[in-house]
Assembly symmetry: C2
Homo-oligomer: 726 residues x 2
């Protein structure tokens, strides 16, 4: 009946929310629950992110454009995007309680952004229609949508950790600026009146503001040692001043920034993860509350296997029966047909563990001509190809090939050797096709199969093949911890990538408005005399033009992004500034660049470094404590685990396919069960997952206290960063 | 009698060894004990370090010299130094047990260094006498003496922590090099055959070795974005290659280096500090064993106050009676006239706490004409000058002066204002002289009194005055933690300074042999045409000459050190390399520079950053736990503590004098005891001291188990780094 169905839907949502760490205070009415299930449907999310991407990509087609499109076209697409976003917000409003909706700053943010964008579009459209000059200022708001959609949890977390670190960073920054001020004063007194000159003949260290800026740039080391040379040439004693300055400001203060960011990051990250763990557990308790039954009078409430099965089928419909049974046998340890609260709460984590189900499939040749395929030479060949040495021989071949490529290619012997290597690679493919079932082979080797005799493509294929060398390195134990951590950092880099894109996008939009068209890039083949000064006479004879930096400009969104990456790397940014954008506009253009430096290099990059450091320390500490799950133990108990020597737990194997089939190799070892399980490599657990596991171990398994929701309680530390700043 | 004297000497040595964390297995015979006391005499240590400094400074006078001296003169001085070092080693050999002496690698190191130096001097002298070319190769060994003398404990610890981190750094380095190799291969394939050119017209990315080097330099960001521009100008898509490269190698790998260094640093530092704490306690137990008496039959052994007093007088003869009595009253809490083992063990720490004894002295004017000095207006003036507002007003004046200096000095109004400020400063001095007792005043203001109307010196005085602004910043609470940590880092920077000097000295010696005289610096006024290419035609038209880098050379030890600092800062090092030293010598000169980069930037600077990070985290964690000592509590109990408002615990006060007198201010508050104690500011505790305190808190106070000596046991982790490497 419908009430039971609704109960199951509700429980399934709680489990799924726990599984993906969603913290949504949805309405528990049957209709809202169904709407919420729809809201979480993957297709809708993909659609949302697709339109988000479209919305952001509009910058490529809007003035200043990489590929110009008429205004009406981009406007139309943008209105479509806005419509989609509005529908999504309305959908969300229907799902959660009304007062919760209006209390949640992220919803208000989205509504404000959408309204402002619409207003801006109308104004801009009207101005353009009347042929006036207009600025699409609302474009800077676009990336903020990424932060404020319900799915942007990770990104919001990153922003929160930045905001939490800000006050402390600010105090260090004040001290740092104070130190620069003092040093600038000293420099002015020491060097200003000595009549020294820079290389280009301008007076050296005479203006207080210039000195401050020069010293700020020196902190980034970008103008070292040039800024020191005139003073040093006059007297070597002045070098001491600069050395002390670098020691204090470049080394000590920059380390202090890192220390402050790292300390805050650690503190808040751990607090947030702790709260996430509690919230997850609490949701599971709610799901249990919905499904629980009293088996006997006065007994503990339980969930029966039938309800549990129905629930899991709802939560993850594509789970195989075997997999589900495995999970149940882990939960129902004593085979009682029902589980209590403590066992039930594990479900969300159990579902999160990726398990590879391994099925055996015969090779098609085996069915076609079994006698030939099963003959002794054929079997020997199969064993040969599957042998470790086969892989090693081919790794060696790639290595030799790599060396050959590094050598002089003019030598005909070496040029021809390419064809030998190509033949060897084709041989490898044929041999593997013979041994492995085709589906297995293609899932493993999709990259390498697009061989083409065309030289250019061969190069790219080669580059991809060289990446296989990583497998050689990965098999050396010493490198394992390092590579494990690097892989674990992967998912977080995606979050940082979004973070960087948000910041870059805003700076790119502002930069384009400020600097578009000031610098022009001429193709190599161009003979225009303006090429020598990037099309701007003001740049004639400057370092910017001399160093051929014309393509470092804000003329379109792609160039802007690349320029911002260069500014992040910091080196030569004073050249881009001084002789570039400050020359063609105004000296105050520096503010833009210094602001970018403070935000991206001092704050965001340090958070990134802090993250990498923490990932390493977690990795080092986790190595010691054993975090093997009950599931792993169960699989071992049931003897369903894949023998280690059959499937090396190494990088490339696991990278190539999750639904790993052993294919034809089965034929060699017929006494194995036809279905086996394997936990997807532990190395793909993220740092967050490891932290969660650590905090779960800390938490009393019987502790089901109500908890604070990190996102919706209005707790000061965890409120929406954008809203409370606005 | 002599046996008792000997007992006290022995106990005093144990206490003093514990106090300064010395780990010397000295012979306990009376004669050896006396010799050991002599060995630890401060004058001998100062003498040793003085000759160490002389020995190192010889590089200034030896060829290539800053101030050339004849060979016989430097040789004579060096022989004198060697003689002193030899005497010191012989002295040490007489003090410690013979087998311990030969088991200790640092002694063998010293003997080997001294022998090699002597051999080298003889060979060099003979070669020079016969007019042959000779190389003073033993000069690279000189700084190693700093590491291997008994007093170089901190430095040895730093080297050990580097050595312990080396294996792990090495594995990351291999991966890192592997990554560079792969990227270089990809770059060769992607860009090598496109016929691109650098700005100077040379082909771009065609030689594998050149690409590898360029990419290595890119990791340091020194050649960004120049190395990318030719490819980026050809097609913006190639920028993606460089961005991925920078992300992986510059950001991730460099963070991984820091993580590995930091992790090891933390692990081994804590282990060493823990062992130091145990060793210290064990030495105190031995001292107790020497002095203990059995007061009653079957009772616990104790040390009487008389013995204790004699011991403390031996250990620290310049301790005032009042101070000693204070320490005794802290140890003998229950006033029993004798203390047990647990209380006795504290002594080393108690002696390490700096206590300021405050005496009151009347102002000379008070004795000269008391009626005038004690009159109401005079008293008001005194109160005024001692008031907080007086300091604040003068801080404000300095601030205004600072602003004026930053402004345009051509303006006559501003130039004349200097004289107003000068008058104000003189007024301040006069007022303070009136209020404070002269000795107090001069100990506080020795810096500021050398006022001189000469403009140049006035500037320097002003700069020193500006430093007083730090006091303003320091009084703001928010900045306290940061400034505290920065001050705590101070002593460690001295150790790092020594470490850096050891490494720089070795590189400077080698660099001078390799590159001396290749590049010449011409004074600004010189009209020699060779000035344009630094006196070396090979440099004609290179960036090195264009950027006016001629003074960046290895022509003497001072220039070498400054050049090495520039290389540490990393920026432009490829310019120094490429167009500088590689051009004038050979392309393999790069090996020298890359080696320097790996050792100094990747290893030593990361250890420095790790140290700063750890100092901050210790500071943050110590803030919470209360580490007030029993001594502080005792002083408070006895009501001998200086009232807080009388003596601000702030930076500048405490910096100026340790033996702080309150001088004439006493007259205003006559009801205070004439002698008071104050713990010297907690902010000067070093990070090591804080760590020791933390570990002491961890250790059971009754736990006196035998421990391992970190330096002399031959424990693998703690053996001498230089010896086991040699």
């Amino acid at each position: 009946n419908s009430s039971v169905t609704n109960d199951f839907n509700l429980a399934a949502i709680y489990v799924s929310d726990a599984q993906y760490n969603r913290n949504v205070y949805f309405d528990t009415s049957p209709q809202a629950v169904r709407l919420y299930m729809l809201y979480n449907h993957w297709a809708l999310k993909v659609l949302l992110y697709f339109f988000m991407l479209v919305n952001l990509s509009l910058a490529i087609f809007e003035d200043p454009a990489v590929y110009p499109l008429p205004i009406w076209a981009t406007m139309l697409v943008e209105i479509l995007c806005l419509l989609i976003f509005t529908i999504r917000v309305i959908h969300y409003a229907k799902v959660i309680l009304r007062d919760k909706f209006w209390k949640d700053p992220k919803n208000i943010c989205i509504i404000v952004i959408l309204t402002l964008t619409l207003v801006d579009m109308i104004i801009y459209g009207a101005l353009k229609a009347a042929n006036y000059y207009g600025v699409r200022w609302s474009r800077v708001l676009r990336p903020l949508l990424l932060v404020n959609v319900t799915e942007g949890r990770q990104l919001r977390r990153a922003f929160r950790s930045i905001r939490n670190a800000l006050p402390q960073i600010f105090y260090v920054f004040l001290l740092f600026m104070f130190s620069i001020l003092i040093f600038a004063l000293m420099a002015l007194k020491l060097l200003g009146k000595r009549g020294l000159t820079n290389i280009n003949g301008t007076p050296y260290f005479t203006s207080y503001l210039e000195i401050m800026f020069d010293l700020y740039v020196l902190v980034t080391t970008a103008n070292s040692p040039d800024v020191m040379m005139p003073a040093y040439n006059a007297n070597f004693f002045f070098a001491v001043f600069f050395i002390v300055y670098i020691l204090i400001n470049t080394y000590i203060f920059m380390s202090v920034f890192l220390a402050v960011v790292y300390n805050n990051y650690k503190k808040y990250l751990k607090e947030e993860v702790r709260q996430l763990v509690r919230a997850k557990r609490h949701k599971m308790v709610r799901a249990f509350g919905v499904l629980q039954e009293q088996r006997e009078e006065g007994g503990e409430p339980v969930v029966t296997q039938a309800s549990w099965n129905q629930l899991v089928r709802l939560v993850q419909p594509n789970l195989s029966n075997a997999h589900r049974e495995l999970l149940w046998s882990v939960s129902d340890d004593k085979n009682q047909g029902a589980i209590g609260k403590v066992a039930f709460v594990q479900l969300a984590d159990l579902l999160n563990i990726e398990i590879i189900t391994i099925k055996s499939r015969p090779h098609p040749l085996q069915s076609l001509c079994p006698s030939l395929y099963q003959s002794a030479p054929s079997k020997l060949l199969c064993q040969l190809v599957q042998h470790r040495a086969f892989v090693m021989v081919y790794d060696l071949i790639i290595l030799v090939n790599a060396v050959f490529i590094g050598l002089d290619e003019e030598n005909p012997m070496i040029a021809n050797s390419e064809w030998v290597f190509l033949a060897l690679y084709i041989l490898e493919i044929l041999l593997k096709l013979y041994v492995f079932e085709p589906r297995v082979f293609f899932s493993k080797h999709s990259f390498w199969n697009c061989l083409n005799p065309h030289r250019q493509i061969l190069d790219i294929v080669f580059i991809l093949r060289v990446l296989r060398l990583i497998r050689v390195v990965d098999s050396i134990k010493r490198f394992r911890t390092i590579i494990n951590t690097l892989i674990r950092i992967g998912p977080a880099i995606l979050t940082f990538g979004q973070l960087i894109i948000v910041v870059y996008y805003i700076f790119a939009m502002v930069g384009m408005e400020l600097f578009k068209g000031k610098v022009t890039f001429y193709e190599q083949s161009s003979t225009d005399p303006a090429k020598a000064y990037c099309g701007n006479p003001l740049l004639n004879g400057t370092d910017f033009a001399k160093l051929n930096y014309c393509k470092n400009n804000f003329n379109d969104v792609v160039s802007s992004f690349i320029l911002l990456v260069e500014l992040t790397v910091v080196n030569q940014w004073h050249d881009i500034l001084y002789s570039g954008f400050a020359t063609v506009t105004h000296i105050s253009a520096r503010i833009f660049f210094v602001l970018f430096h403070v935000i991206v290099v001092i704050v965001i990059l340090n958070i990134f470094v802090a993250f990498v450091l923490e990932a390493f320390f977690v990795e080092y500490s986790v190595d010691k404590s054993d975090l093997q799950t009950s599931l792993e133990r169960k699989i071992e108990e049931l003897e369903l685990a894949v023998a280690q020597e059959m499937m090396e737990d190494n990088l490339v194997n696991a990278m190539e396919t999750i639904d790993n089939d052993l294919g034809g190799s089965q034929s060699a070892k017929p006494n194995l069960p036809s279905l086996m399980f394997k936990i997807a490599s532990k190395r793909y657990r993220t740092v967050d997952a490891l932290l969660q596991r650590i905090f779960e171990a800390d938490l009393d398994p019987e502790d089901f206290a109500e908890n604070d929701d990190p996102e919706a309680t209005g707790n000061e530390n965890f409120a929406n960063p954008l809203f409370s700043h606005a």
